[in-house]
Symmetry: none
């Protein structure tokens, strides 16, 4: 079995053992335990514990630093995933509004969140970005934000 897979399994075991679906490690110590280079931990995290996979990573450098891996628990998420998957590489302002209204109606987000997201997705917030990039950016932002709700 590959090192990456061993590390992945170990992290998932830690997550399963945790009440709160959180695994906290110290990179060097953990790498040592696993018998690999510290940077391989980064590789595993960035290839298998991404937001798309349903994980959130937090970390801190310096003395007493750490890496925290959170597993997102899916609940009303299949509807969200459906919406996320239906968003392509680009989306215009009009369609964005429809998506948000839809999420609002189905109770996936509340009004406050809708307003927050709409403000980030507005053309006025993207004024510094060339027009030609905006629909791609909007799609990316919208998907990332919806993912964070999972």
């Amino acid at each position: 079995m590959r090192m990456s897979d061993i590390i992945t399994k170990e992290i998932i075991k830690m997550l399963n053992d945790s009440e709160a679906n959180i695994a906290e490690i110290q990179r060097n110590e953990f790498a040592n335990l696993m018998g690999c280079a510290p940077s391989q931990i980064n590789y595993v995290l960035s290839s298998r514990f991404t937001p798309e996979h349903g994980y959130i990573i937090e970390s801190r450098r310096g003395g007493g630093g750490y890496i925290r891996i959170k597993r997102v628990v899916l609940s009303h998420s299949s509807a969200l995933m459906h919406i996320i998957n239906s968003i392509g590489e680009q989306i215009d302002a009009m369609s964005t509004r429809i998506v948000l209204e839809n999420c609002l109606e189905t109770g996936l987000i509340d009004e406050k969140n809708a307003r927050l997201m709409a403000s980030a997705l507005s053309n006025s917030a993207m004024q510094c970005v060339p027009v030609i990039l905006r629909d791609s950016l909007r799609a990316s932002l919208l998907k990332q934000m919806l993912l964070s709700l999972l």
Copy 2:
């Protein structure tokens, strides 16, 4: 736990115990109590009790000297406006994290919103935008989103 975090907690405890949101210490005595070098107190104050974090520091040297830490309590919207105004034309990912953490600590946003905003402000959500534009975009998005909370 890091020494800095222990000291931070102790100061916050003193602030909470105080009616007037003021904690007054004598540096050497306090450092001795905490078991650290006196200059570490300065480090903690300058890294975690800055005006950006919502604190004001006063001090006096010489015999009978002291350090006074005041916690500033602002109304919701004026605190938000203050933060929005403090954000320039550009902001990097690191400073963004501090702003969000600060908003979270002071109860201006909840964890869900913080995650939502963080996901939109992450470099990964901006991958389609040239690196050189990202800090401007981030500043613009952050300000728009905070404005939507007013």
